[in-house]
Subunit: 153 residues, 2 copies
Amino acid sequence: MKDHASAHAIDTRLRSMPPVRTLDVQLHDYDGTALRLHAPLDRNINDKGSAFGGSLATVATLSAWGLASLKLHEAGHADVDVYVQDSTMQYLAPLYDDLVACATLAPEQDWADFTGTFAQRGKARARLQAELRCADGTLACRFEGRFVALAQR
Amino acid sequence: MKDHASAHAIDTRLRSMPPVRTLDVQLHDYDGTALRLHAPLDRNINDKGSAFGGSLATVATLSAWGLASLKLHEAGHADVDVYVQDSTMQYLAPLYDDLVACATLAPEQDWADFTGTFAQRGKARARLQAELRCADGTLACRFEGRFVALAQR
């Protein structure tokens, strides 16, 4: 963990949500650039024995949400609500392993812009991406989403 | 319910998935055109007291998946797997009520084409949409997704 206190704060906020607990989504690791969430297959399985589409979308969305929240927390902004505005999800291959979603900032975006804009205006937007891979490395899902951070009222 | 047996079969398949049971997603009603799924807010609440984004995406995706599955079942195709291929989700307003997703076929699509193509080739694609509204009628989320139906092997 790069910033243990910030990562812990985000994990605590994640686990405060009942559906996150019932699907058993947990922080896997964070290296300062990418944040990974994990959820076990058995809690998130569909009628075909592979990962349930709703859970794939959930874990992907949460990983990006978690990364944006974490970057704000690291920059000293703890009282921020991050909301997803819109997203696209591509389901490319069935996943028969545990769900691990890896979120990063979209290529043309910049964290310093995001946190700087938030510091100035109490509001900022960012585009993030996430992917889930099978254990053999095959890309199973690709997510992209736009998020907005708002100072808590 | 328009076709009680088909709707019951889809509800049974829905409830066979552990995450659907833990989020308590249930068939609400089906009038032959629109299928609605319901999930209680308390099981699907986020850290802001509104409906959790992952659950909104889950219920929207499942409602469209359920409607495509139901249309095939009604047409006599029981052994079909329907998969979501890609989707977009817009989060327009926070939802503080139970989640009710209403799925319909996308405007320029035709169910007879879909079931006819499936009968002929054992494979067919359709585009569906879904929305979730607040109790006062405000549009909370808009979903669109492409689905493919494949004969079970």
